[in-house]
């Protein structure tokens, strides 16, 4: 009996040992992805002062990361911006015509163009979200996304059936959510909700989901579904003014001014400033955004509550750069991905979104946008 019990204890110790070893090795994500190093070790002063319950120097952790960027070796795949040339973008309107657009039309073009990938046959990419809470907990989520848009495909069967865009998001990390995937079909009909399917890994089946509440946060980040899956009629829009987009000293994310310019897109671009107010009770009362007057891209977004307090600041991860006319006389554009910092100001929670791979007009078959693919993982 004693021997048996001793064996049990030894086995338990072995299990605990394996457990501890795995924890120490911290082998958590795909090996080809580089992890952000522990910025709070190696002699660095912790940015959060527990005695005063405030961030040192009034800077947020994300600001701390950016302001110490040179000290952090993130690797080219994370740090470097990259470009994809030759993308068509729907600049079908002249400057005069664009000036006549309503704010609803501006927002629709922004969402269709970049959010719903209207300017490409399809898109596949990988995105990483780093979230940092006020206690300094850094968490990482990695996913793959696939898009196909029918906005500029008038002859397609889907377009005739009212489908605007199909989108798949598949979680790669962390382990608990690995394999989870969602598929969303969006429609031209503003009154028709998105169709959403989810593949639940523990149940091994595809489930239909109700249209996710667009007020909910996306995967625990500071992004919200209404940032990603925007339905225009949710808001009333109005133009506030036109101005050249500038980064301000008291701007967002606790960044120092020189780093703000480095990480915020669109500085110096002519923008519309558009106010959006929800038509019904919403998690914010007012949203101000800066939209590029040439390509509609949103560079910054501020959300306020009913008391007028700033609750969320958000920067865009994309910008568009115009190149010289190509041989056909049309303009070539580069779309640029960079870091997309979002901060929920009220609770010092930050998300750093980073699109680290992105490919347009690939051979991705449209059969991928089906429950069949979600079931089998093959197409």
């Amino acid at each position: 009996m004693c021997n048996h019990r001793l064996s049990c204890v030894i086995l338990s110790i072995v299990f605990v040992g394996i457990f501890s070893l795995l924890c120490c090795l911290n082998i958590s994500i795909a090996q080809e992805e580089k992890r952000i190093p522990d910025i709070f070790s190696g002699g660095e002063e912790a940015p959060f002062d527990k005695r005063t319950d405030k961030w040192f120097g009034g800077k947020t952790p994300l600001g701390y990361i950016f302001n110490n960027f040179d000290k952090i070796e993130l690797g080219d795949d994370v740090y470097g911006r990259f470009t994809k040339p030759g993308l068509p973008y729907p600049f079908e309107l002249s400057k005069e015509e664009r000036e006549k657009l309503t704010p609803d039309q501006v927002m629709r073009r922004w969402i269709e163009g970049v959010g719903y990938k209207a300017f490409a046959k399809n898109y596949e990419g990988s995105i990483r979200f780093l979230t940092l809470d006020r206690r300094g907990h850094l968490r990482e989520k990695i996913g793959k996304e696939y898009h196909v848009s029918y906005i500029n495909k008038p002859e397609s069967k889907e377009r005739k059936e009212g489908v605007m865009n199909k989108f798949i998001f598949k979680v790669v990390a962390p382990e608990d959510a690995r394999g989870l995937s969602t598929m969303t079909w969006r429609y031209f009909d503003d009154d028709k909700s998105d169709d959403i399917w989810i593949f639940l890994t523990s149940l091994r089946k595809v489930r239909r989901m109700s249209d996710a509440s667009k007020q909910d946060s996306f995967l625990g980040t500071d992004h919200h579904y209404d940032d990603i899956s925007l339905k225009i009629p949710i808001y009333n829009y109005k133009f506030l003014k036109s101005e050249v987009f500038q980064v301000k000293d008291d701007d967002i994310f606790g960044l120092e001014k020189e780093n703000l310019k480095r990480f915020i897109n669109g500085v110096g671009r002519e923008c519309w400033v558009i106010e959006a107010t929800p038509k019904k009770s919403w998690y914010f009362a007012k949203r101000i955004s800066w939209q590029d007057k040439e390509n509609y891209i949103e560079y910054k977004q501020l959300k306020y509550d009913k008391k007028g307090r700033l609750i969320i600041t958000r920067a865009s991860e994309v910008s568009l750069v115009q190149e010289a006319p190509n041989t056909s006389g049309a303009k070539d554009y580069y779309i640029i991905f960079s870091f997309a910092p979002v901060e929920t100001v009220l609770n010092n929670h930050l998300t750093w979104g980073n699109i680290f791979t992105g490919n347009w007009d690939t051979d991705l078959p449209e059969s991928i946008f089906s429950t069949r693919y979600m079931l089998t993982g093959v197409y």
Binding site: E175, D176, L203, R204, R208
Partner: protein, 464 residues
Amino acid sequence: MKKVKFVKLRRIAFISLVGFSLSGVIGNTPVQGAFHIGNLLIGGYLKNESSWHLQRPGELMKSQWQFNLELDYHLSDHITCFLQLRPEYEAIFKWSSHGMGAHDEWKDELQDNWFRNDDFNPLVREAWIHINYENFEARLGRQIVVWGRSDGIRLLDMVNPYFMREGVLDEDEDAKIPIWMFKLRYWFTVENGLELLWIPRYVPSVAPLKDSPFAFQATKMLEGELIPMLKSFGIKFKHSEPGTSISKSEIGLRWLGMFKNFNYSLNYFYTWDDVMDMVAKGPKLYTFKPDRLSIFGGSFDYAFSHALFMDDWVIRGEFAYYNGDNFINMETNQIEERDHFDVMWGFDKNFFVDYYVSFQFAQSFLLHRGDDYSGPGLSAIDSIENQYTLMLQKFVYDDRIMLETLICASDEGDAWARPRVSFEYTDEIKLTLGGNFFWGSSDDFYGQWHRSGDQIFFEIKYGF
């Protein structure tokens, strides 16, 4: 053929809520991108699950260490191999009888099978090769196949048998027994395809023995009273499984389709009952053997943008017609074949931004009913049996904490509640605390575990 009284666990098929969980993000996951070594992907987890008896504080009901390792090798664009190994060590359940019997205070029978390498809880849980070529798919090997659209309520999801060491408490992923089968699919269009299953060898479900805290009342009566009494008369018992000839195999057909965003399936399963009947084979011999069953059915789901004064909700449905199922006539003590028709309606919606609510209502209609028939809790089965499930779920603290309550009840007044809280301490480490509480008469399905099954549980899991 003479049949004797045997309280069969038939109704488990309808009312067992094994592995009820919608928290798909929390569950075990196939390998999809962990370590890469060339074309080999490696992932898995290590976890401990422990539970304590509520009525006898300090008494462990379970202390289980489980190491799950999944290997996914992409041989080519068209061929993938998958292997799942899951050794486990359980300190409380006795090893004998697949851990289905009584608990120990602490393990004193540490045998060489602590990896559970048997048919019901195998070391190699899944091992298959997947071949896909254009519209054709084949998956050959030991695997788990899930049918239907209900959660926990088994109407069509009868392909894999269940390892019910903890009654209804285990998650599907733990409770389902992987079996050897051939699965073929052909897609006629992107969303419309036909699936064929061929299962050459029968594997039964395994229910807890009479000394287990999760034993069914029917089992207690059978093992504790009937069989000892018959044995005292010199009667012998043996198991008789169908064998492996083609005529003894199980065949499944499923049509998967979508019509204008209406997802549906049509199913047919020619199978053996997961639960064996005890049948007299002569004056001195009784055999446990399964019954042939034909199950016809279908399922669907649809999302409404606006309907019944509500925005954005989902309706799910599933129905199954069982042809030739066996029941115990409580008047004559004979097994009789009866058909029954089971139907489930599900309703899912998010309320108040992020409160997820899932409600299911299921009914089973026993057709051509004359006398009373008994169920697993020993009470008589009604002509129409009703089941209700309600799940509430909310994520808080940046989605790191999941609050969830599951309530399952029947029209007999018995119920099971499982509140639980999960906390993601890091991306890799997750902690779960919860409880299982049963109410009702000992003759009713959930009531039979009142007090004996009440527990609090704790789980720690490291994923990689």
